[in-house]
């Protein structure tokens, strides 16, 4: 039928259509990387235009971390304690905690960023205009994720360098490549989790209780400022179920000692890949369900 219609178009109509090159060449895409980049750049441009973000990126992280480090120093004295060295295998608890906090910045952002971004678009009134463009949803989700990863990277490195300067900690740079590989896998895996939360935000509008709960639970059982060995056995078991635990353990070893068992490293990569596939499958499924749910109820732009 469409073929017949095409062949019957008058010369004028065909000319009119040809003039609109965009429609003539248009083909839907599964993924539009350019749209993701454009969306991320837009988010970063807007973020820069809120001057107080400088405080959020630069000052707040160190204000959150400093009390932990000061408390550790007050309890155990400067640098370390015998018990800490025994349970963690590391000699300097400040060095241990700063790198843990550096990684947690990415975990925290990955959990919150995509969902928060969708919430912000909903509040701004710009979510519906975005959804009437022919851009695949996954590209918008990834654009939101990229922009937050860039902002988190700025914030995390300010935190790292400030903490290194203030508390005199340092790290070995011999295994930067493997650290980046594990970090990327962890961040990308958590993007999937972020897709899931974005879908929930479409449905529930404000799932802050849930995200706060997940975020704080992850923070509590992850070996960020203390080694896993100090956790009670059930909490330690729960910690190993969280994908970030593997990443924190491997990255900490690579950053402090500079080496890691090759077999264990490859095993960690395989595990992270498995988690990544699982989170993405669940995340995209939940997001698609959330979009359909809101379209059925006509509540896409509502807040």
């Amino acid at each position: 039928m469409m073929q017949t219609r095409e062949s019957l178009r008058s010369a004028d109509e065909e000319r009119e259509e040809l003039e609109n090159g965009y429609l003539t060449d248009f083909q839907p895409r599964m993924m539009d990387w350019n749209a993701s980049r454009i969306f991320a750049v837009k988010n970063i441009r807007i973020a820069i235009r809120y001057p107080t973000n400088v405080l959020i990126w630069g000052l707040l992280p160190i204000l959150w971390l400093a009390p932990y480090l000061l408390m550790m120093t007050a309890v155990a004295g400067p640098g370390t304690s015998e018990y800490f060295s025994e349970v963690s295998g590391f000699s300097d608890f400040l060095q241990f905690a700063v790198i843990g906090w550096f990684i947690f910045k990415y975990i925290d952002a990955s959990i919150w960023s995509i969902g928060n971004n969708f919430r912000w678009e909903q509040f701004s009134g710009t979510l519906e205009p975005l959804f009437v463009t022919p851009v695949p949803r996954i590209s918008i989700l990834l654009g939101a994720a990229f922009s937050d990863t860039v902002q988190t990277t700025i914030s995390a490195f300010i935190l790292l360098f400030t903490a290194m300067a203030l508390f005199g900690v340092s790290y070995t740079l011999v295994a930067v490549g493997p650290i980046i590989v594990i970090m990327l896998l962890m961040i990308i895996a958590f993007y999937g989790f972020g897709f899931m939360l974005a879908g929930m935000i479409l449905v529930f509008k404000d799932p802050s209780v849930l995200t706060e709960l997940i975020n704080n639970a992850v923070f509590t059982v992850s070996p960020i400022t203390y080694p896993l060995q100090v956790l009670p056995a059930p909490a330690r078991f729960a910690a190993y179920l969280i994908p970030s635990t593997i990443a924190i353990v491997v990255i900490r070893d690579l950053a402090i000692i500079g080496t890691y068992d090759l077999f264990l490293f490859l095993q960690s990569i395989a595990l992270m890949c498995g988690i990544l596939i699982f989170f993405w499958a669940v995340g995209i499924g939940v997001f698609n369900y959330g979009e359909k749910w809101t379209k059925e109820r006509g509540s896409m732009g509502g807040f």
Partner: protein
């Protein structure tokens, strides 16, 4: 020749005729219904009461290419729900809709690429970005390269009279200017179909007139579905109007046809000092009726005629020649779309 008396050539011609007609339809809406079910819950999760709202009831409407069709109705009539169904933001409960030949459910990406949507909401752009940045951002989402997006943004902002404000953050612009940016965004990819949902809502008269003139003069080749509750806007812009209320199209036709449904004559209202000679007025060719009421030396004269504008000067001349009355006020009243709506639904559009 077959049993119905058609030759094969006849059948082919009929078939082609139907196909050509179909091809000229830019928006096809067939039996589109939307029912919203809201569930009241106790203790967050236990459903206790279900409320069913039929926002759209089996709407059928075909919009030929290059025509402006209006959806006119009061708040809550279903106008925005219909626009959102076409814009792929709301899933219809039943029925089908095609935009530029693409099914909004099965070929939603193609449909979205073929339409521009303007929702009358100034918040639907980024206030921290400039006017130009907003347009360029959305242009790029429609796969335009940077230089082309910038050119298009400048072209549209120029047409909207906003070029000199292009680099000012949107938060610093007036409501009317923001609405023009929202409107310009809908045109960014030069779509063949435009869905305009109350584009002049809340605008001051100057901005509203600018936008209406733009729609009328610069968007002649576009197929437009316009929702509004401003009768004069629908009257001015639309080739055909669907009067919609409680999710149903109550009446459909050109503004003139709709008004003729109410009455096919105009009434001339003349206030005079003194008492004009009704007998002479009734004798004028074309006058259907003439009546007057007199109070405190002033008369209220009502003359009805098929074409009030054509007859008015005859009546005024006659009163002028008749020394017994002097015209103080004069007005021709055509039936309005509001009269049509009132007759059909028992309520006024702006209720």
């Amino acid at each position: 020749m077959n049993i119905l008396g058609f030759t094969n050539t006849n059948i082919l011609t009929l078939f082609l005729g139907e196909v050509i007609i179909l091809n000229k339809i830019a928006v096809e809406i067939q039996d589109l219904s939307k029912t919203f079910i809201s569930v009241k819950k106790k203790a967050v999760i236990i459903p206790v009461e279900k409320t069913r709202v039929d926002a759209l009831k089996s709407i059928t409407l075909d919009i030929p290419k290059g025509q402006i069709y209006g959806l006119l109705g009061p708040n809550g009539a279903g106008k925005t729900t219909l626009i959102k169904c076409l814009a792929t933001l709301v899933l219809p409960t039943s029925g089908t809709a095609r935009v530029h030949g693409y099914d909004v459910l099965k070929e939603s990406t193609y449909a979205r690429a073929s339409m521009g949507v303007c929702q009358g909401n100034e918040r639907s752009i980024y206030w921290k970005l400039t006017a130009r940045e907003n347009i360029i951002f959305f242009a790029k989402l429609y796969r335009m390269p940077q230089n082309e997006a910038k050119e298009r943004a400048d072209e549209l902002l120029g047409q909207m009279g906003l070029l000199e404000k292009a680099d000012i953050k949107t938060e610093e612009l007036s409501h009317g200017m923001r609405m023009k940016i929202v409107f310009a965004r809908a045109l960014i990819h030069d779509p063949p179909v435009l869905l305009l949902d109350e584009p002049t809502q809340g605008l001051d008269p100057t901005f509203a007139t600018d936008l209406r003139q733009y729609i009328r003069n610069s968007l002649k080749s576009k197929t437009i579905l316009l929702t509004t509750h401003y009768m004069h806007e629908a009257d001015l812009l639309c080739d055909k109007i669907a009067l919609i209320n409680e999710g149903e199209i109550k009446s459909f036709g050109s503004p003139q046809e709709l008004k003729e449904d109410v009455r096919d004559y105009d009434s001339i209202h003349i206030k005079t000092k003194g008492d004009p000679d009704l007998g002479l007025i009734r004798e004028i060719d074309g006058v259907m009726s003439a009546n007057s009421t007199t109070r405190n030396g002033y008369s209220e004269l009502v003359v009805t005629a098929k074409d009030g504008y054509d007859l008015a000067h005859h009546v005024l001349n006659l009163i002028h020649q008749d020394q017994s009355a002097r015209v103080e006020h004069f007005e021709i009243k055509e039936p309005s779309l509001d009269d049509v709506f009132l007759k059909l639904t028992g309520r006024r559009i702006e209720d």
